[in-house]
C-alpha cells in the first residue's frame, strides 16, 4: 500500500470538505475514510439489533449472574441454565433455558456511577463532553444503512434518546416516548400528506441555493415518505392478535417490544426499547422480581417471533443498562450503583452459550479479562457491521476513531 497516497488523500479530503461539510455538521467531524486494515472476509454477523435497555442499572445478582453461595447473594434462588455451569436467578428461570443462544459478558466495567453520564457512556462509548457530542451506537448502525422509503434506520422507544452528533440528523434515532401519542401524531400528520405536495411545490419556487434550505426540503420529503410507509403502520401494535399481545405481556414494556418486532419487519435496523425502574436502592429483590415478570415474556416472545419470521439469523438482541449494582446489600434491602461491573447479555444466532470473564465468588471484583465500555462498543460495532477502525478527522485537527480506544472482546 502506498503510504503517501493515503496521507494525501486524507489531507485533501479534509481541505475540500472543511468548508462545505462543516456547514452541515456545525461542529465536529469533517472527513472520514475507510480504515485500511479491515479484513473483508470478516462479514458482520448481524444486520439488525434490538437493545433492551434496563434504565437505572440492573442488578446482575438477581438476573444473569447470581451468587447463591455468597453472603452478597440475597434471598433469591438460582436455577440451572441450558448451558452446563451457568445459572440464572430464579427471576429469569424460563430465559435460562435459552442461555445456549446467548453470550454473557461479565468482564465489562467502568468508573462512571452517575446515571446520566453512565447512560451516555454505554450508548456512545465515550464520556460525555457537551462540546464534542458523540454518535450513539444506534446512529452508527443507521449511518451504514440507506434503505430510504421514509423508514427511519433507528428508533428509540422510550424517553431518553442519544443522537447522531456529527453523523448528521438523518441518522439520529426516531424517538417515540409514548407509542399512543406518536400514533396520534402520525395519524394527524397523515391527514396532511396531500398538502405536503403543495409545500414541495412552493419550496421548488423559493430556490435552494443554501444548504439549510436543501436540508429542510429533504426532511419534508422524508417525512412524507415516512407517513406513507409501513413503518408508520408498525407502531400500531394493537392490530396484533389478542393472543400475541398477551404473550409479550399487556403492559408498557411488552407493547414496546412487540412494536419493536414490527419495526424490524418494516425495515428498521436498530430499535432500542427502554424499561425504567431498575434503580433499586430500596427493596431491590421485590422490585427486580416484578420487573423480570415483564422483561422475560417479552424477551422470549421476541426471540420466538424472530425465528418464525425469518429475521433471527441476522438479528442481535442486546440486554444492558448503565451499570451493575453493589454486591453489598444496603440497609433498605437495596443495592447501590456498581459501575465496576456492568452486566451485558447478547442473544442471537451462533452465540452458543458463551461466558466472557467472571465477577468472582462474591461478585465484588472482575476476575480474568477486564474490558472497558470502549471495548464493548468496538465489539458491538464489529458484530453489527460498523467499521470500528474507521478514522474521522475532527475540525480541531486531530483524528478520532468511533470508539475511545476500544478493541475486540473475543466472542467466538
Amino acid at each position: 500500500m502506498n503510504h503517501f497516497n493515503t496521507l494525501n488523500r486524507r489531507s485533501l479530503l479534509t481541505a475540500a470538505s472543511a468548508a462545505s461539510v462543516s456547514q452541515i455538521l456545525g461542529r465536529a467531524v469533517v472527513a472520514s475514510e475507510q480504515s485500511q486494515g479491515r479484513d473483508d472476509s470478516r462479514r458482520p454477523r448481524f444486520k439488525r439489533c434490538v437493545t433492551l435497555w434496563m434504565q437505572g442499572g440492573p442488578s446482575q445478582f438477581e438476573t444473569i449472574d447470581p451468587k447463591p453461595d455468597s453472603s452478597n447473594g440475597g434471598p433469591l434462588t438460582s436455577v440451572a441454565s441450558g448451558v452446563p455451569g451457568i445459572a440464572f436467578c430464579e427471576t429469569l428461570g424460563k430465559l435460562a433455558e435459552r442461555a445456549n443462544e446467548m453470550c454473557l459478558l461479565r468482564s465489562v466495567g467502568s468508573k462512571q456511577g452517575e446515571h446520566e453520564r453512565a447512560s451516555y457512556l454505554l450508548h456512545t462509548g465515550f464520556e460525555k463532553i457537551d462540546s464534542f457530542p458523540r454518535p450513539s451506537l444506534a446512529s452508527a448502525v443507521a449511518n451504514g444503512s440507506r434503505q430510504g422509503g421514509g423508514i427511519p434506520p433507528a428508533v428509540t422507544l422510550g424517553g431518553a434518546a442519544y443522537g447522531a452528533a456529527f453523523l448528521g440528523p438523518e441518522n439520529a434515532p426516531f424517538v417515540i416516548s409514548e407509542l399512543e401519542s406518536a400514533l396520534e401524531t402520525v395519524h394527524r400528520a397523515r391527514g396532511n400528506i396531500g398538502r405536503l405536495k403543495l409545500v414541495e411545490q412552493l419550496n421548488a419556487k423559493f430556490g435552494q441555493v443554501s444548504l439549510p434550505l436543501k436540508q429542510r426540503s429533504r426532511q419534508i420529503q422524508t417525512a412524507r415518505e415516512l407517513l406513507g410507509s409501513s413503518f408508520a403502520d408498525s407502531m400500531n401494535f394493537e392490530t396484533e392478535s389478542e393472543q400475541t399481545r398477551r404473550r409479550y405481556g399487556e403492559n408498557g414494556f411488552g407493547n414496546r417490544v412487540l412494536a419493536a418486532r414490527r419495526m424490524l419487519e418494516a425495515g428498521v435496523r436498530y430499535v432500542e426499547v427502554q424499561m425504567p425502574g431498575w434503580d433499586t436502592h430500596v427493596g431491590n429483590f421485590d422490585a427486580v422480581k416484578r420487573l423480570c415478570q415483564q422483561l422475560e415474556p417479552a424477551w422470549i416472545s421476541l426471540a420466538d417471533d424472530l425465528k418464525a419470521n425469518g429475521l433471527w439469523e441476522e438479528t442481535l438482541i442486546l440486554w444492558m443498562g448503565e451499570f451493575g449494582r453493589t454486591p453489598v446489600i444496603n440497609g433498605q434491602n437495596g443495592r447501590d450503583h456498581f459501575p465496576r461491573s456492568i452486566p451485558v447479555a447478547l442473544m442471537g444466532a451462533g452465540l452458543d452459550g458463551q461466558v466472557i470473564g467472571t465477577t468472582g465468588a462474591d461478585g465484588s471484583a472482575l476476575e480474568g479479562p477486564e474490558h472497558s465500555v470502549a471495548d464493548l462498543m468496538y465489539t458491538l460495532m464489529d458484530l453489527l457491521g460498523v467499521d470500528p477502525d474507521q478514522e474521522y478527522t475532527t475540525r480541531f485537527g486531530s483524528p478520532t476513531t468511533p470508539t475511545d480506544g476500544g478493541s475486540r472482546i473475543p466472542i467466538g
Binding site: 462545505s20 462540546s131 457530542p133 443522537g163 398538502r195 405536503l196 423559493f206 429542510r216 480541531f396
Partner: protein, 467 residues
C-alpha cells in the same frame, strides 16, 4: 436616543447622510481586504419580517405590515419593537434557553428564572449586573429566579458559566489536556474549585442553593484560580469569581458575540461559545468592537441590539435564486457577514408565528397581542420542546439555540392543526410571507381550498426560514 434622532433629522434636513454605522465601517474594510462584494440589503417588507421575528419572536401581523408599508421608517420600527413587552418576553425566553436549555428537568423552576430575566430586560438592567447575579445567586428555586441557572447546571457549573459568560469551552479539559486547546485540565480543576462550596438541600419550594464557607489557608496551593491566574481575595469564592468574570474583556466580547449570533444567525466566533486557538473570530475587529461598545454603554443590551439592527450587515440578503456561487465562496461570505445565511426559525418563533397567523383573526392580530401582552411562554416552551424533538433536547451540542430539528419534531410540526380565518389568497400570503402571491402562484393556488393553502404556507421554506 432622542439626541440621535434629532441628529439624524438635522442631517437629513441639511441634505447630509447620517454617519455610517460603525459596524458597517468595520465590515467594509474587511470585505475590501478579502475582495468580497456584499449582497444588497432587503426590501422594506422583508426587513419588517426579519426585525419582528428577531425582536418579538413572530412574523408581523397584517396591520403592522400595512402601517409600516405606509411609512417605512426602519429605525422607528426597531424602536417600537425594542420598547414593546413582546421584546421583553421573547428575549427573556431566548436567554433562558441559553442559560438553562429548553427542557430543564424536574428540579429547575424554569419559569421563575425566565420571569426574573424578563424583569431585568424590562428595566434594562446593566447586563454585567445580571451576569453577576446569575453566577453568585443563592436561594430557593421557586423564589429566587437566578439560582435556577446554577441548579440547571449543577452537575458541572463551571463549564456552563465559562461557555455563556466567557465564550470558551472548558469541558474538553475536564478529562484531558487537549493538544490544540489553550486550557489544560489544571485550568479546569482550578476554575471548578470556585464552585466547590455549593450546597444543595431539599426545602419546600424546591432546592436551596447556598455556599459552605470556604475555609482555606490563603496560601493553600489548592485555592481556586481564575483563567487569568487571579486567586480569590475573600472566602466568598463564588462572588469573587463573578466579579472576576464580568471585569475581563472576554466577558464583554462573549456577550457581544452572543447578541450578534441571536440577531445574525452566526457568531463572529463560531460556534458561539467556542473561542479557542483554533476557532478565532472571523472578523476580530468587530468582535472587539461589540465588546467595547458594551463596556462604553455600561452593558446596555438594548443599545447593542439597536446598533446591530440598524446596520446594513443586519439587513443583507442571501444570494439570489440563480446564483451559482459555490459552497466555499458562500462560506466565506457568510463568515464575513457579506451575505445573510438563511436560518430556520427557532421553534419558539414558529410557534408564536403560527399563533399570530391562525389563532387570532388576522385583521385584529395586533390588537389581540397587545391585549394579552404576556402570552403564555410556558406553553410556547412546551410546544417548542416537541418541535425540536426529544433527542435534540437531551443530547444536543453546547448551544441549545442552535439545536437541529429531528424528524419526530418535524412530524409534530406537520401534525399541528391550523385553521384559516380568511380565504383570501392575498391576505394569506401577506400574513405569512409578507408579500403578495406572484401571478403564477395565484394561478396555481386559486382553485385550491383555503385551508390547504394556509397549511402549505405555514410549512414552506419561505415561511419557516428567517431570510
Amino acid at each position: 436616543m432622542f439626541r440621535w434622532l434629532l441628529f439624524t433629522a438635522c442631517l437629513s434636513i441639511c441634505g447630509g447622510l447620517p454617519a455610517a454605522n460603525p459596524i458597517d465601517v468595520i465590515l467594509a474594510k474587511d470585505h475590501a481586504s478579502r475582495g468580497l462584494s456584499p449582497a444588497r440589503t432587503v426590501d422594506d417588507a422583508r426587513f419588517l419580517r426579519r426585525i419582528t421575528l428577531d425582536l418579538a419572536g413572530r412574523v408581523p401581523s397584517l396591520s403592522e405590515l400595512k402601517s409600516f408599508m405606509d411609512q417605512p421608517d426602519r429605525d422607528r420600527a426597531i424602536e417600537r419593537l425594542l420598547g414593546s413587552e413582546e421584546f421583553v418576553q421573547y428575549w427573556s425566553e431566548l436567554w433562558t434557553i441559553t442559560l438553562a436549555g429548553r427542557a430543564t428537568g424536574e428540579r429547575v423552576d424554569r419559569e421563575t428564572l425566565r420571569r426574573w430575566l424578563a424583569d431585568r430586560i424590562r428595566a434594562n438592567t446593566a447586563f454585567d449586573q445580571v451576569a453577576f447575579d446569575l453566577i453568585s445567586a443563592t436561594g430557593v428555586t421557586a423564589l429566587d429566579g437566578p439560582v435556577n441557572f446554577l441548579v440547571a447546571n449543577r452537575e458541572d457549573p463551571v463549564t456552563q458559566v465559562s461557555r455563556v459568560f466567557l465564550g470558551v469551552q472548558l469541558d474538553c479539559a475536564r478529562c484531558h489536556d487537549h493538544p490544540f486547546d489553550r486550557w489544560t485540565q489544571d485550568d479546569y480543576e482550578s476554575m471548578r474549585r470556585f464552585f466547590e462550596p455549593i450546597q444543595l438541600e431539599e426545602v419546600s419550594g424546591g432546592l436551596r442553593l447556598s455556599d459552605a464557607v470556604a475555609d482555606r489557608d490563603p496560601d493553600d496551593e489548592n485555592l481556586p484560580r481564575f483563567l487569568t491566574g487571579a486567586r480569590p481575595r475573600t472566602t466568598a469564592w463564588r462572588k469573587n469569581f463573578a466579579l472576576m468574570t464580568i471585569r475581563v474583556k472576554p466577558f464583554s466580547r462573549a456577550i457581544g458575540n452572543r447578541v450578534w449570533q441571536l440577531l445574525l444567525g452566526r457568531g463572529i466566533v463560531d460556534p458561539v461559545d467556542g473561542l479557542s486557538e483554533n476557532d478565532q473570530p472571523s472578523v476580530p475587529e468587530l468582535h472587539d468592537f461589540l465588546g467595547q461598545h458594551l463596556r462604553d454603554t455600561e452593558f446596555d443590551l438594548r443599545a447593542l441590539v439597536r446598533l446591530i439592527c440598524s446596520s446594513d450587515a443586519y439587513a443583507r440578503q442571501d444570494y439570489g435564486k440563480n446564483s451559482n456561487i459555490n459552497q466555499v465562496e458562500q462560506a466565506h461570505c457568510y463568515e464575513a457577514f457579506a451575505a445573510r445565511k438563511p436560518r430556520a426559525m427557532l421553534p419558539e418563533q414558529w410557534v408564536l408565528s403560527h399563533r399570530v397567523v391562525t389563532q387570532v383573526s388576522l385583521a385584529n392580530a395586533m390588537d389581540a397581542i397587545e391585549e394579552e401582552a404576556t402570552f403564555d411562554l410556558v406553553a410556547v416552551n412546551e410546544n417548542a420542546v416537541q418541535l425540536v424533538g426529544q433527542s435534540a433536547v437531551s443530547v444536543g451540542g453546547t448551544d441549545p439555540i442552535e439545536l437541529q430539528r429531528t424528524s419526530q419534531g418535524l412530524l409534530q410540526e406537520l401534525a399541528t392543526p391550523s385553521v384559516a380565518r380568511v380565504n383570501d389568497l392575498e391576505e394569506m400570503f401577506l400574513a405569512t410571507l409578507q408579500r403578495e402571491p406572484t401571478a403564477e402562484e395565484f394561478e396555481t393556488l386559486a382553485t385550491v381550498i383555503g385551508q390547504d393553502v394556509l397549511y402549505a404556507l405555514l410549512h414552506c421554506n419561505e415561511f419557516v426560514f428567517n431570510h
